[in-house]
Symmetry: C2
Amino acid sequence: MNKYEIIANEMRNRIKNNVYPIDQPIPDEVSLAKEFNSSRMTMKRALDNLVAEGLLFRKRGHGTFIIQSAIQDDHVHVVSNEILGLTNLLKDKKIQSKVIQFEVQFPTEEVAAHLSIDQKTPVYYVVRLRIVEGEPYVLEKTYMPTHLIPGINDDVLHDSIYNHITNVLQLKIAGTHRKIRACKSDHIDQQHLGCKQDDPILEVEHVGFLDTGIPFEYSFSRHRHDKFVVTSVNIRR
Amino acid sequence: MNKYEIIANEMRNRIKNNVYPIDQPIPDEVSLAKEFNSSRMTMKRALDNLVAEGLLFRKRGHGTFIIQSAIQDDHVHVVSNEILGLTNLLKDKKIQSKVIQFEVQFPTEEVAAHLSIDQKTPVYYVVRLRIVEGEPYVLEKTYMPTHLIPGINDDVLHDSIYNHITNVLQLKIAGTHRKIRACKSDHIDQQHLGCKQDDPILEVEHVGFLDTGIPFEYSFSRHRHDKFVVTSVNIRR
DNA sequence: TAGTGGTCTAGACCACACC
DNA sequence: GTGTGGTCTAGACCACTAG
C-alpha cells in the first residue's frame, strides 16, 4: 500500500466519522502533510483521490471542504470498478452463466472497426446470460478476435472469460471505453431476463483493451432496468 | 494555460496525427521531459491526462502505449463535461425552454435528504422541457431550496438556471453526483418529448453542489433514448 | 542488468480569496 | 498582507519488465 493510499484511507475514515466539522474547511495541506509525516505533494495526492471520489472539494485560496451530500449515501463508482468483469465485481455472490449462442463469424464492418481488425479476421460471437444469486442479471453479447483470445470453450464460458484471459492466457486488461443508453427490450431480452414486453433495457456498449493497447472485446451488456444503475461523480477542476 | 496542459495538447496532436507508431511505445518520460524542457513530474502529469482521456496506456517497466481503438472514434466525455448545464454544454445550438410546472413545495423525505435540508425547508419544483434546434431534447424535473437559489422567475426559467446561479447570484458550482438508469416513459414524457408509448427513457438523477459543498439542486433529466448516450473511459491504474 | 514507469521528497513560486 | 491550494522543479529510490 502506497503512502498516499494510506493517508487517503485515514482521511476518508475521519471524514465519514465526522472528525472534521462538516461546514468548515479541513486542515490545510501543509499542516496535514506535517501530521502524516509526508511531503505536501504526497498529501495533495491523497486528497486528490478523495476529491475524485466526490468526498471533498477544494476552493483555491480558501481551503478544502467536505461535500455534505456525499456523506449520507455511500455512492459507488460502478463505472470505474467494473473493468474486471462481472465475476470479479460481484465476488461474494453466486454467479452462473448460461450460454445462449457461441459461434465463429466474420465481423461486420462496425464490429471490425471497434476491434481494430479487418473484416477477414474471424471473431467469436458469444451470447451469455449472467445469473446472480439465481436471478437473471444481464444478457451479454460479446465479440472477440479468435487469434487474440484462443481457447474459448464451454468450460470457460460457464466460468468467466475475464479469468481465462488474465489467468490462463496471462494477458492483462488495461481499460475500457463505454457508452450507456436506454433501449427497448426485444424478445430475447424478455425470454432470458424475464422482463415484460414494455420493460426498457439499460445497454452498456463496451470496448475492452489489453495492456498492449489492442482491443480484445466488443460487447453489449443488456441490463434489466430495475436492477442496474450507473453512478458517476464529477468535480470541477 | 499550464505547462502540463500545453504538453498534453501537443502530445495529443502528435498521437492523433500518427507521429508515433501505433504499435510501439512512445518515447520514455525522461526523454520527453527533456524535449519539452520540463521536469519528469510535469511530463508525467501531462501524460496522466492523456491516460485519463483513454488515449494512452502505461505498462510499468515497459513503456507508454497508444490505445488503438481510441484514435478512430472521437469519443467525448459527456459525463464529465456536463457540469455546466445544458445551455453551456450545447453552446452553438439554439436552446429553448418550455416551463411545464413551477411551484414551491415542502420536500418529500427523499428530496430533503438529497438536498441536506429538513422537510420544513421549502423548495422550488420546476419541470421544464428543453428544446434543442427545435427538437424536444430532455424533460427536467428539478428541486432547489428557495433560500439557496432565490430570484427564480419565468425569465430565468426560459433562459438558463445555471446562468442565473453563476452570473446573477455569483455562486460557484463545484460538481455533481449522478445516477443513470433506464425507465419506462410516462404520459408526460410522451406528450412533451414526442416519444411513443413503448419508448424507453434514459434518466439521469443528479445532485449538484456549490463550492461550499452544499447541495443546491436535485433533479431528474429524462432523455429520449434515441438522442442521448453517456460515454465513459476507464483506465486501470 | 538496463530501462521503464511509480512514488516520494523538500522546496520554490504563482494564483486566488479573504481581511 | 496572509494564508490557502496549484504548479513546477531536480533529484532520489522503488517496482516491474525484458533480454
